[in-house]
Assembly symmetry: none
Homo-oligomer: 236 residues x 2
DNA sequence: CGACCCCTCGCTATTTTGGGGGAGGGTTAA
DNA sequence: TTAACCCTCCCCCAAAATAGCGAGGGGTCG
C-alpha cells in the first residue's frame, strides 16, 4: 500500500477550496490523526486555512487572536525545519492557559508542525495532531513523518494553485539548474565542487549562479541563497 | 523472537555514549550486518557518531573530509525517506574513488541510509551496510528494513537524550556580533558594507564571520548563512 | 588565578567570485 | 516564425573572500 502516491493522486483532483478542505479531512482519517491543519498567510496578510478542529475552537482561536500566544505559530515563524510541539517553549503562563483550552477543544497531546515558505513571502503551516503516549508518538512519527512532510508541501502547492496565485511579477521562478545550483551552494559547496557534482563545466555553472542572482535581484551568491531559502524556492 | 522489542529494551538501558556505542555494535551483530552507523549533526554543527567501521577508515574519512563527496551523505541531506545506496549517483569521479576506498576499508556493497530530522535543525543519518548479492539484499531489506527504520529513530531519540545531559557541554550559540554579521550577510551586504554598518574594522568583521563559520561547521559564508537561516539562529 | 570566550585590530599570500563579453543548440508558446 | 527562455561551454581580468598567522583588553566562572 502506498498511501503517499494515493494522496498525491487524490490531491491532484481537487480544484476548489471545498475539495481541498475535504481532502484535508480525508487525509486526517487515512493517516489516523486526531487533527490536521493547513494554514497559509500570504505576503499581503491574506489568510486561508483548511483544518479539522471543531468550529467553536476555531472561532475562539480567531476571536481571541490566539496566534499571538500559540507557541506553535510563534515557534514556526522562526523555523525552517519541521518542529515537534514537545520541544517548544510552553513555560509562559499564556502558553499553559492556551494548552489547557486546546485540550478541552479536543486537541491531542502530541503534534508536530511543518513550516513552509512559498514564493513572495507566502508562509504556511501544516500541523499534525495526535492523542497518544510518547512511545506511540515516536513510532508514529518515524513511520509517517516523511510522508506527511512531503504531503505538506504538496498541500501548499495545491492551495496556492487553487487560490490562483497571480503571475509572479518581480520574482520569476528559478530554472531546475538554478535551483540545483543554489541548493548545493546552500550546503557549502563551491563552484568547482558543484560543477563536478552536476557534471557540468564551471563556466556553465557560473551562468546559473548569475542568472539566479539576476532573477532574485540578489547582490551576491550569499544573498541569492538566503533569498531562495526565505522564499521557499529551495529546501535544504 | 521479537528482536525489535529486545532492542528497545536494551537501548533504554543505555545512559552514556559508551553504552550507546556498544549498543550500536550489538545491533550490528544481532541484525547480522556488516556495519551500522549512527551519525548526528546538531544545529550548531556539533557532531557525534557511533559506528562499527574500522578506526583507520573513520580517521581517513574525517581527515579527508569525505562527507563532502560521500554520495550517501550528500544524497540524504536532500532526502526525507530512507534511501538505497544503489539508487544514489555514483558517477562522479570523486564518488568512484571514494567507493573504492570504502570497499578496501571493509564496507559491503549493499546499504541503505535513514535520514532523520530532529528538533532545531538536528540531523542524523543511520546507515546500514551489508555484503551480499542483490537478491539476498532484497530479501534482507524486505525482512528487516521496517525494524531498522524504527530502531533508527529510537537511536536518534536516545542519542539526543544522552547528549542532552550536561555530559557533552553546552551547545555554543552565536554571539550577538556573529548574529549581526550573518544577518547582514544574508541581506547581500559585503564585508566592507557590513564593517561600515556595524562601525567596526573589516578585520574585526572577518573574525566574526570566521568564528560563526567555525561554530556552525560551515564550509563558507554562504553555507553559514544558509545554516543560520534554516536553524532559526537568524531571521531576515 | 587560569581558562575561556567576546570584542577589537593587523599582516601576507592564495583562492574564489564576479563582471562582461562571446558562442551554439534545444524547447515552448505567442 | 520569431521571441524567450533553457542548457551548455569558452575567454580575460578585476574584485572579493578566505587561509593562516599575529596582537591586546575585557568579562565570567570555577
Amino acid at each position: 500500500m502506498n498511501r503517499l502516491v494515493d494522496m498525491q493522486d487524490a490531491l491532484s483532483q481537487a480544484t476548489t477550496l471545498e475539495e481541498f478542505q475535504t481532502f484535508v479531512e480525508n487525509l486526517r482519517d487515512v493517516y489516523d490523526l486526531e487533527h490536521l491543519v493547513y494554514h497559509s498567510v500570504n505576503s499581503t496578510g491574506g489568510q486561508y486555512a483548511a483544518l479539522t478542529y471543531k468550529p467553536d475552537w476555531v472561532e475562539r482561536y480567531i476571536e481571541q487572536d490566539y496566534a499571538r500566544i500559540d507557541p506553535v505559530v510563534q515557534g514556526c515563524y522562526r523555523q525552517f525545519q519541521p518542529i515537534e510541539w514537545k520541544t517548544l517553549d510552553w513555560s509562559a503562563k499564556a502558553s499553559r492557559a492556551f494548552l489547557g483550552e486546546a485540550g478541552e477543544a479536543g486537541l491531542g497531546n502530541q503534534g508536530f508542525s511543518v513550516p513552509i515558505r512559498g514564493p513572495s513571502g507566502q508562509f504556511a503551516l501544516v500541523s499534525v495532531n495526535h492523542k497518544c503516549n510518547d512511545e506511540m508518538w515516536a513510532s508514529f512519527t518515524s513511520e509517517r513523518a516523511a510522508d506527511l512532510l512531503l504531503i505538506s508541501h504538496y498541500l501548499n502547492e495545491k492551495a496556492l494553485q487553487i487560490e490562483g496565485n497571480p503571475h509572479r511579477g518581480p520574482t520569476r521562478s528559478l530554472s531546475p539548474r538554478e535551483k540545483d545550483t543554489l541548493t548545493l551552494l546552500a550546503t557549502g559547496a563551491n563552484r568547482a565542487n558543484i560543477a563536478e557534482t552536476l557534471k557540468i563545466s564551471e563556466s556553465t555553472l557560473r551562468v546559473y549562479i548569475e542568472s539566479a542572482r539576476f532573477k532574485l535581484g540578489a547582490a551576491n551568491t550569499t544573498h541569492a541563497v538566503a533569498m531562495a531559502l526565505t522564499h521557499g524556492l529551495i529546501v535544504v
